[in-house]
């Protein structure tokens, strides 16, 4: 089978996880799915670069993370991609979404990108610290220190930091 066919078929079962990761990074449903579309297109055009001995999920998550960083860069570093209220308001689907969930997604959207991505890949996607370090191209110590600061910020935001 040619590589693009292998990658195409391998990506189908990964779509739900890719959408979850994109939602955690980009916040809003529509922006997250636009990010997913860019990621799928990049993955298909770069299919020949994927080595079958590498895990396809990590490979495509790295593409997603880099595409998201590219987008942030093109919009300028100085401001957040979305206002926290806006990101929280539709980050999850359904008008009856519980208040707690909105607060949490807003808090996540308010984190600096370095912190948001580590929360997304470790706490939401469930990668190990070493897998996250490889994906984010930083040392494991950086993953753990960013994660600790991100946790503190989220808990403070939620009023849990007593």
């Amino acid at each position: 089978m040619d590589p693009s066919q292998t990658v195409r078929e391998g990506l189908i079962p990964l779509l739900p996880r890719l959408r979850r990761l994109a939602r955690a990074l980009a916040g809003q449903v529509a922006d997250a799915d636009d990010l997913v579309q860019i990621v799928l297109e990049r993955a298909l055009t770069r299919a020949v670069q994927w080595r079958p001995d590498a895990a396809l999920d990590k490979w495509v998550f790295a593409i997603a993370r880099n595409a998201w960083r590219d987008e942030l860069r093109s919009r300028g570093r100085s401001h957040n991609l979305f206002a926290p209220e806006e990101a929280g308001a539709s980050a999850t689907d359904g008008a009856s979404a519980p208040v707690q969930k909105l607060e949490l997604t807003a808090a996540l959207a308010a984190l600096p990108p370095d912190h948001r991505e580590v929360v997304a890949v470790v706490l939401i996607e469930g990668l190990s610290y070493s897998e996250a370090a490889e994906l984010l191209e930083v040392p494991v110590g950086t993953v753990t220190s960013r994660l600790a600061r991100a946790r503190a910020a989220l808990q403070a935001y939620l009023g849990n930091a007593a």
């Binding site: 739900p16 860019i38 297109e41 469930g126």
Partner: protein, 251 residues
């Protein structure tokens, strides 16, 4: 006793500590209320994040995304290159309406309708397996039914949901692991509470393409295994205990 720093505490909560260090924290927890509260808060945050984002896993995938992966004819595949360039220069979030209109190319439209059909069939078989209540996700529909009724000791090959371990958690609730066989296969942990079966962990089941040793060493995805490890005290139920628990309404 030395105070436990945040980095060590979070490594404990995330299942990243070696066995000996984790055991020493386990022991310290029993005597140190402040430490127990810190661990509880860190677990709670992780659970809240999972409750907020895991439902995305069971949302229907938009047809235009599924269509990208189902396009089979060479002309449709060849169009991927200009689309990628267009999307990259457009950026996500920018002028979405113009972006979507590209899907009216005939070959892609055919692929999209096939994808819509296959997703619709897939979803019909699935039903709503989760509901969210007060920031917590609970099993619903066929999943809730399987958790209520299925015994791991009496497996049904035709069932769409299988049950793995049943055990009583450290909190006193009865918890069960499950796997749904629809594609993509999902595995999770559910714990019985007054409001229903809460689902503290849900993950796509082991991806056969993944070369990850840790995943292939265990039948459960790592995050589900971690959720089990965090709750399991003692042994999983025997077939007899499982039946008795079911007959008692999983109390």
């Amino acid at each position: 006793m030395n105070p436990i720093d945040e980095i060590t505490l979070q490594a404990y909560v995330d299942g990243e500590l070696d066995v000996a260090s984790a055991a020493s924290i386990d022991a310290a927890l029993a005597q140190d209320d402040l430490l127990a509260r810190r661990v509880h808060k860190a677990r709670e945050l992780r659970a809240q994040l999972n409750a907020a984002f895991d439902p995305v896993l069971v949302e229907p995938v938009p047809a235009h995304l599924a269509a990208l992966l189902h396009a089979e004819s060479p002309p449709a595949a060849a169009r991927v290159v200009p689309l990628a360039k267009a999307a990259a220069s457009r950026g996500f979030g920018a002028d979405r309406r113009r972006g979507r209109r590209r899907w009216f190319f005939p070959a892609v439209a055919v692929a999209a309708s096939i994808a819509v059909l296959s997703m619709a069939i897939w979803w019909q078989g699935r039903g709503d397996l989760l509901r969210v209540q007060e920031g917590q996700q609970f099993a619903s529909g066929a999943l809730s039914q399987a958790l209520d009724q299925t015994l791991a000791s009496e497996p049904d090959r035709r069932a769409r949901i299988s049950i793995g371990l049943t055990f009583r958690s450290a909190d006193g609730d009865i918890c069960r692991t499950f796997v749904t066989h629809a594609k993509p296969a999902m595995a999770g942990l559910a714990c019985h509470q007054p409001a229903g079966w809460s689902v503290p962990a849900l993950s796509t089941a082991v991806d056969p393409q993944s070369g990850d040793l840790r995943q292939s060493a265990s039948a459960l995805p790592p995050r589900v295994q971690a959720a089990v490890d965090a709750r399991l005290r003692g042994d999983a139920f025997t077939a007899k205990q499982e039946r008795v628990a079911r007959d008692a309404g999983w109390q």
